[in-house]
């Protein structure tokens, strides 16, 4: 440990996802390779080409929020609040009044209040209404979830929303980590949330031609790194972490789940949708350097692993480029095979799986893996969870737009 350098630990976490509405059930689904992908139920998807998604099942907002509060909460904000509550509760923290100016919130969201947008524009364009509901703006803005969490917990410190598509949560957690590390805050709630399963959004993604059709059994639709992969599956949900300066956590005797030790970020600056090798590779290296970890010390890589032809082949090249010979030994898995691609939330949901892998010594598998692809020839922990001590792990997020975020977590020894 370097004297004078502030360390940052995870002392609380929360997940609200298709594969579980709390951390235990979420992780149990992952290690049992249970998928949350099914036919869309929020509305009738019959007219769509793609009719499946990883929806949060049986979700009734009034089970969690009073009606007056709900008026101002888009679905993505509800998910974020629910995950934040779990993170606060699991941490056991009580932030004193005088500490609140050094307690902040950073949340990522790719799409913001998509449902509110969709409904509002339907009224405007299809039903020819001349005005939109006055709560439209406070519900759709990307920072709505950040602000609502701040209000719920009186977090008065540095707070913001980050939107970098699929990397939003990775960047949000990384920024929060640095705010604590560099002395700007002591306690942060950070993660991501998104609820992009709307008619307009699925139509938009359909036209990019990256969604898996899911004919037959939807739960097998997303098959990352498998030779027969057909694309990604849209997901939704939220993941939130309580990050805390290590001495602050130690003083109050907090349980530490993991240390956030490195954060790498980069921009491909090359193509708006197509990933590069060099950009993601730089982000991984940056995370390793910050944590002073050698590539061969990494036990587990939670891959971006969307399940598209291009992403999985390129991510495999990226891992080979950075890890050299160790690339063949390191365990790699994509849990998107189960919880889908939850957009701006996905990095946080995946980091929750990664932190639990450290905590429990069990690596969640890549579900639905059927056959090897010559372009994806590494160890993707196919279909079955693996018991293995994990000391150091990274979680990759490589976004549309070429903006990459890599988080490195390790067990606190």
């Amino acid at each position: 440990m370097v004297p004078g350098v502030r360390r940052v630990v995870i002392t609380g976490l929360g997940v609200f996802a298709s594969t579980g509405k709390d951390v235990e059930s979420f992780f149990s689904s992952l290690i049992n390779a249970r998928s949350g992908v099914r036919r869309i139920t929020q509305w009738d998807p019959s007219s769509l080409t793609i009719q499946i998604a990883a929806e949060v099942p049986d979700y009734l907002p009034t089970d969690y929020f009073p009606p007056k509060r709900l008026d101002l909460l888009d679905r993505f904000t509800q998910f974020g609040l629910l995950a934040a509550r779990q993170a606060m509760e699991s941490s056991g923290i009580e932030v004193a009044e005088e500490e609140k100016p050094r307690f902040g919130v950073v949340m990522g969201s790719g799409m913001g209040g998509a449902e509110t947008f969709d409904r509002g524009y339907f009224n405007l364009y299809a039903r020819n209404e001349t005005r939109l509901h006055p709560f439209t703006i406070p519900k759709i803005m990307h920072n709505a979830v950040t602000s609502q969490i701040c209000m719920e917990y009186g977090a008065q410190g540095p707070s913001m929303a980050i939107s970098t598509a699929c990397s939003s949560a990775g960047h949000a957690i990384g920024e929060a980590f640095h705010l604590i590390k560099f002395g700007i805050a002591d306690v942060m709630l950070a993660g991501g949330s998104d609820a992009p399963i709307t008619y307009g959004m699925i139509r938009s993604w359909e036209s990019v031609r990256v969604l898996a059709p899911g004919d037959g059994d939807p739960s097998r639709a997303c098959r990352p790194f498998s030779a027969d992969r057909e694309g990604m599956v849209m997901g939704e949900g939220a993941g939130v972490f309580l990050l805390e300066e290590f001495e602050h956590a130690r003083r109050r005797g907090a349980k530490v789940y993991a240390e956030v030790a490195g954060f790498g970020m980069s921009s491909d600056a090359s193509h708006i949708t197509q990933p590069s090798v060099i950009g993601p590779a730089r982000a991984i290296r940056m995370s390793l350097e910050e944590a002073a970890v050698n590539p061969d010390q990494v036990d587990y890589i939670n891959a971006h692993g969307t399940g598209t032809r291009l992403n999985d082949a390129i991510e495999t090249q990226v891992i080979k480029e950075v890890f050299k010979n160790h690339a063949r030994r390191v365990a790699i898995s994509s849990t998107k095979s189960m919880h889908g691609h939850a957009m701006g939330a996905t990095g946080a949901i995946e980091l929750a799986g990664t932190v639990m892998a450290l905590e429990r010594g069990v690596i969640p598998p890549t579900a639905n893996y059927t056959k090897p692809d010559p372009e994806c020839d590494l160890d993707y922990v196919p279909n079955q969870a693996r018991e293995k001590p994990v000391r150091v792990a990274i979680s990759n997020s490589f976004a549309f737009g070429g903006l990459n975020a890599v988080l490195l977590v390790r067990r606190l020894e």
């Binding site: 009073p66 009606p67 007056k68 008026d71 005005r131 509901h133 006055p134 709560f135 406070p138």
Partner: protein, 96 residues
């Protein structure tokens, strides 16, 4: 149903109040209705009565009786210039 009864019904519904909380003499301050609640109530009133309430008039609605008075006058096409003039003297619009 009178305009007053309808206004009370709408405020009760939009604020998720129990019946009986909103009275003809209630002020928005007493009811804890903030600026954002206010625009929501205005929106509901405009939808219900199928009218446009000018921003300048809306700014002066801070009690149930003021709402009923302004609504009645807007609906009957009466002069609301005194309300506009009052509103111009002060600014209670929500800040951005």
């Amino acid at each position: 149903m009178s305009i007053a009864d309808k206004v009370i019904e709408i405020i009760t519904r939009e604020q998720h109040f129990e019946p009986g909380v909103v009275k003809p003499e209630s002020t928005f301050a007493e009811l804890g209705i903030d600026s954002l609640d206010g625009v929501n109530i205005l929106f509901a009133l405009e939808q219900e009565f199928k009218i446009d309430i000018p921003d300048s008039v809306a700014q002066n609605m801070r009690s149930v009786s003021q709402v009923v008075d302004a609504l009645t006058r807007v609906m009957e096409g009466k002069d609301v210039s005194d309300l506009v003039a009052m509103a111009k003297g002060e600014n209670s619009a929500p800040s951005s």
